[in-house]
């Protein structure tokens, strides 16, 4: 992961594009299995003693595919807006206070540093310091920060945090995360929907009068596999989304530092954010992987170890701080501000 930080921008964007595609393909395959796998069970189960199946049209597959396509598309398109609305974010179009003006200026500075168009800027009225970025790409990105962030951090630290968020935008992390969020939402919806209808219709499949032919064992195997995927899918998706998110945080820290050329400021900002500790109530659980620090203040993100590696949406704070301080040290050494050490 440390080497990843040195990847250049184009490679990084390429990697994210590739990963977005892989996720899409994986999910399509998954939907196909959920849909047509169910049909397979019904098909095998409907075979009579002569081996003739009475279940011909793969209705489950058709319905699941349609629903998944429509819902995913909808969630993908409206996701960022819904996210901001759910967090109670208010767009700043015309800054009125000094604080808001500073925020707008800092975001503009970072947009210039990254050579990006200026994103939309949002404020969330919450006293806990936090921030996130969302959108479909650099042209339609939004950056949201809480009121608490503005009051807790000084200008340089704010710049560090905004730089981190702009790095998410520049690296196309926002697009990947929006895609994953949309797909994950559909998975949860589908497994819920199918699980429920299966419990009602399932009896018919299992207790079919004719299904005792050679297909019996096969039906059972397919059925068990199908049910297991259905149950585990939401969990697996969550874990994978977290893994992707964790990985992105280190990179955004590094890219952000590259934009501000001031890794120390982000480190001290992170420390202040961590110190505030209170959960950011306005930010929903589903948004956690987008924030600069875990809004839920979960202990799992603060520690190191196997649990944190599996369930954290963010890398352990001590590790992030250590990496940033390392960068700051290197920069200071390069600028000759430190006595060269051997």
């Amino acid at each position: 992961m440390a080497e990843d930080a040195t990847l250049n921008l184009l490679e990084q964007q390429e990697k994210n594009r590739r990963q977005t595609t892989i996720w899409m393909v994986a999910f399509i395959l998954f939907f196909a299995w959920i849909g047509f796998g169910g049909d397979l069970v019904l098909y095998l189960g409907s075979k009579d003693a002569y081996g003739t199946a009475h279940y011909r049209v793969p209705w489950v597959g058709i319905v699941v595919t349609t629903i998944a396509a429509v819902v995913t598309w909808n969630a993908w398109r409206r996701g960022p807006r819904q996210l901001l609305a759910a967090a109670g974010a208010r767009e700043i179009t015309d800054p009125t206070t000094q604080e808001e003006r500073t925020l707008v200026n800092v975001v503009e500075e970072m947009a210039i540093a990254g050579g990006l168009p200026r994103p939309k800027i949002y404020i969330i009225e919450d006293d806990d310091p936090n921030a996130f970025a969302t959108g479909h790409g650099p042209e339609s990105a939004s950056v949201a920060v809480t009121r608490g962030l503005l009051t807790t951090l000084n200008r340089e630290e704010l710049q560090g945090v905004v730089g981190h968020e702009m790095a998410h935008v520049r690296n196309l992390d926002v697009r990947l995360m929006t895609t994953i969020a949309a797909l994950a939402g559909v998975i949860v919806l589908l497994s819920d929907l199918l699980g429920r209808s299966f419990r009602h219709g399932g009896v018919r499949v299992g207790g079919g009068r004719r299904g005792r032919g050679g297909g019996g064992a096969l039906v059972l195997v397919v059925l068990v596999l199908w049910v297991i995927t259905l149950i585990l899918a939401p969990l697996i998706v969550r874990l994978m989304a977290m893994a992707v998110s964790r990985n992105r945080e280190y990179l955004a820290d590094a890219t952000g530092a590259e934009l501000t050329r001031n890794p120390g400021a982000l480190a001290s900002a992170l420390q202040k954010i961590e110190g505030a500790h209170a959960p950011t109530k306005s930010i929903a659980k589903s948004t956690a992987q987008l924030c600069i620090a875990d809004p839920l203040g979960r202990a799992v993100n603060a520690k190191e170890g196997a649990m944190a590696n599996l369930f954290g949406t963010h890398p352990p704070m001590p590790k992030r701080l250590a990496r940033l301080r390392g960068m700051a040290f290197q920069a200071a050494k390069a600028a000759g501000e430190l006595p060269a050490q051997r």
Partner: protein
């Protein structure tokens, strides 16, 4: 027949490569020019802000004529140089020096203003100060971005085999915005925000 087909393929491959290399250089050239324009926009903004600032404080800072004059003259000097400077038209070094001088003058001006608590705490001055601070930063970041893009452009036109189409694309090295010595570099870091926090 087979040979003819092969020849065609090779010729097409070469033509295709020349076109894509040419277009790549043109794209980088335009990016460089665009990045420069971004610097220009921010410099102009700064030139526009300074008279505002000077006019606002002129009455209350009678005794600091010298400091004020230094800012004004540094500004007009920088404006003069900026008019003729560009990535390929030269004078970038002079502009860098003039801008550093201007930044230093503005920094000293704010340092002096520390002695005028009423002035310092006025809303008007505060917002001007923030505007200047952000413009200063924007200049710095635009410069940073420009240097990155220009370096990429320069490398591309020198590298083999792209260097063979550099003449065709009329690509000439872009001048980087460099700051000479450590003392000047220190000046750029003058903290115009003065306060610990954006506000309150």
């Amino acid at each position: 027949m087979m040979k003819l087909v092969l020849l065609f393929i090779v010729v097409f491959a070469v033509i295709f490569w020349v076109i894509s290399a040419y277009n790549g250089l043109i794209a980088l050239k335009n990016q460089t020019l665009n990045a420069w324009k971004q610097i220009d926009v921010q410099l102009k903004r700064r030139y526009d802000l300074i008279p505002n600032l000077v006019n606002t404080v002129k009455g209350s800072m009678e005794f600091e004529k010298e400091t004020l004059e230094a800012v004004v003259s540094a500004r007009s000097r920088a404006m003069q140089v900026a008019a003729g400077a560009g990535p390929t038209s030269g004078h970038v070094k002079e502009l860098a020096a003039a801008e550093t001088a201007l930044t230093g003058a503005v920094g000293r001006f704010f340092a002096v203003m520390e002695n005028y608590p009423t002035l310092r705490s006025s809303e008007n001055i505060k917002s001007l100060q923030e505007e200047l601070a952000t413009t200063e930063n924007k200049v710095a970041f635009a410069r940073q971005f420009y240097n990155d893009v220009a370096t990429k452009y320069n490398t591309k036109q020198q590298q083999f085999p792209t260097n063979m189409v550099a003449g065709l694309a009329k690509a000439t090295p872009a001048e980087l915005w460099e700051i000479e010595d450590a003392a000047e570099r220190e000046n750029v870091k003058v903290d115009l925000s003065m306060g610990k926090k954006p506000q309150g």
